[in-house]
């Protein structure tokens, strides 16, 4: 179980996260949603250890991990798919899958992770993870490598961005399968109604604060009825 207690994060005189507290129980599927600039990515980075909060605690299965490094958190079972995937020079998709799994696997074994995100392994395995790949391709590779880790808690930051509609249906399957296969929790930052639809719990973050939080059945109707929030949901589908 992951628990955030009173997380605050200020930069340039701006309160980016203001006293955020919530918990993600084991085997839960949580969707964080809210307008751009609300602080969602910052929150994800704080959980992964990429950013340090100014105050507050991050607890994983009861252990205070607030001051642990990224590597330590990764090894304790937190996985993170970046909103903007990182590009490399010379590192191939196959290399990245192996690094992600922490061991060198057979080509055929590595293939299944790419197939799952709708990429033909034959075309991609030897490609370098660099700017020659399109945004959508990079995004799917990012998702594939993170899924491969089978972490106790996996965070996806706007996985739908840049992914076409056909692949998007497959993506939903990826998350559903993941939920069935692994005994772990999934936290997805998303604006997509179809992703909100498969959530156990939904949290709405705006201006660094939690505005709504509860089960899907509690929160979703409010989001869809509220014209203001509904507007951002629609606007951001392509963004």
């Amino acid at each position: 179980m992951l628990e955030l207690k009173n997380i605050c994060f200020n930069r340039d005189g701006k309160q980016i996260l203001d006293n955020i507290s919530f918990a993600i129980d084991d085997n839960k599927f949580i969707v964080i949603t809210g307008p751009n600039g609300g602080g969602k990515s910052t929150l994800a980075k704080i959980i992964m250890g990429i950013e340090k909060p100014d105050s507050g605690l991050v607890l994983l299965n009861g252990e205070d991990i607030t001051n642990l490094s990224i590597t330590e958190r990764a090894n304790k079972g937190i996985g993170f798919a970046f909103q903007q995937p990182v590009k490399f020079k010379g590192i191939t998709v196959y290399d990245l899958i192996n690094l992600s799994l922490g061991k060198k696997v057979k080509f055929s074994e590595a293939c299944k992770y790419l197939s799952a995100v709708g990429l033909c392994p034959r075309d991609y395995m030897k490609r370098e993870v660099n700017a020659s790949l399109s945004g959508g391709e990079l995004k799917r590779i990012e998702i594939a490598t993170v899924v491969a880790r089978k972490s106790g808690l996996t965070i996806f930051d706007e996985p739908e961005a840049g992914i076409d509609l056909w692949s998007f249906s497959n993506l939903i399957d990826v998350f559903s399968d993941m939920k069935d296969e692994i005994s772990g929790s999934i936290m997805i930052i998303s604006h997509q109604e179809r992703i909100l639809n498969i959530a156990d719990n939904i949290i709405l973050i705006s201006n660094g604060k939690i505005k709504e939080s509860g089960t899907r059945d509690e929160v979703l109707p409010k989001l869809l009825n509220n014209t203001k929030t509904c507007k951002f949901l629609k606007e951001d589908i392509n963004g």
């Binding site: 992964m48 990429i50 490094s69 990224i70 590597t71 990764a74 090894n75 996985g79 993170f80 970046f82 990182v86 490399f88 020079k89 010379g90 590192i91 191939t92 290399d95 990245l96 690094l99 992600s100 922490g102 490598t145 880790r149």
Partner: protein, 309 residues
């Protein structure tokens, strides 16, 4: 000329030419200043020079898919080995040439190998030339390599050169000269890693003389510790031609990297591009690999190994 290879020799051979014993096909292995074994084929002849150290490698017109190995091993200190190798590649011949120099210096004296390689490609010939440099040894003796490559491409011929120098070479000045006729293509990929107090300098000078001549020079290097690197490239275009030089360096610790580009267009249809970038390892690449469970050191190694792959 008949001998078996010992373990150090085998190890160095493996490092520089991916073979650990006498290969099949044409080869000439040189050790500590003299040839130790040679083999020729119907299409590839190798003859010793009579006026100076070195060999002529003569490839018959139309030869296809042959690989020629010409490694050089230095296992003694206090030796300066200067060798002249000339490659004559016949019309439409297609060959791979694997050269390289490995120095194992356990002594306190300097070992130096200066290889001067000249390539003469006839019309339509195609060559892939792979050159690896490697140094090892426990002694304080310096390991110095100064390779020179002179490439002359006749109409329609092409040469692809791959040079790699990873660790162990204290001092190197590498010079490559190209003279390109009509419809030719010269591709050069260079990879260098220096550490400690090493110094590596690379100089490319390519002249595009014939119409539709083109060249792509890519240099990737990593400079660690207090090592120093210099990259000088000159490309001149005298006609309708294309030249692209790309220098990409990762700098670490207290290293120094200097890149000096020079492109000279003497014709309105010459298109020449030079790109140079020097910088430390991108922080976001480190972060990404650490989220996959790698330590900082492991992440750094993966990024560098990939970069130089």
């Amino acid at each position: 000329m008949d001998k078996k290879l010992n373990n150090i020799e085998k190890f160095i051979l493996k490092k520089i030419s991916d073979i650990d014993d006498f290969p099949s096909g044409a080869f000439n292995i040189r050790e500590n200043g003299s040839g130790i074994k040679r083999h020729t084929t119907e299409n590839v002849n190798i003859v010793s020079k009579t006026d100076k150290q070195g060999i002529d490698i003569i490839v018959k017109e139309g030869t296809k898919n042959e690989t020629i190995h010409i490694p050089v091993i230095l296992t003694k200190g206090g030796l300066t080995d200067i060798v002249y190798n000339d490659f004559y590649i016949g019309k439409n011949a297609e060959v791979t040439i694997i050269a390289g120099c490995g120095i194992h210096n356990d002594s306190c004296e300097t070992s130096e190998h200066d290889g001067i390689h000249r390539f003469f490609l006839e019309e339509g010939a195609k060559v892939k030339y792979i050159e690896k440099h490697y140094g090892q040894g426990e002694g304080t003796g310096k390991r110095i390599l100064n390779p020179q490559t002179i490439i002359d491409l006749k109409d329609g011929s092409s040469l692809e050169m791959e040079t790699v120098q990873i660790k162990g070479v204290d001092n190197s000045i590498r010079q490559t000269f190209g003279n390109l006729a009509k419809d030719t293509n010269l591709v050069i990929n260079e990879k260098i890693m220096t550490h400690g107090a090493q110094f590596a300098k690379t100089e490319f000078d390519v002249v595009l003389n014939g119409e539709n001549a083109s060249t792509h020079v890519t240099s990737r290097s990593v400079a660690k510790d207090a090592s120093k690197q210099e990259f000088i490239s000159k490309v001149s275009g005298n006609t309708k031609c294309y030249g692209h030089v790309e220098c990409d360096a990762i700098i670490m610790d207290n290293a120094t990297v200097k890149a000096i580009p020079e492109i000279l267009a003497n014709n309105i249809d010459a298109r020449l591009i030079h790109e140079a970038a020097i910088g430390k390892i991108a922080g976001e690449q480190m972060v990404k690999l650490m989220t996959l469970g790698l330590s900082e050191k492991e992440a750094e190694n993966e990024i560098i190994n990939g970069f130089l792959k």
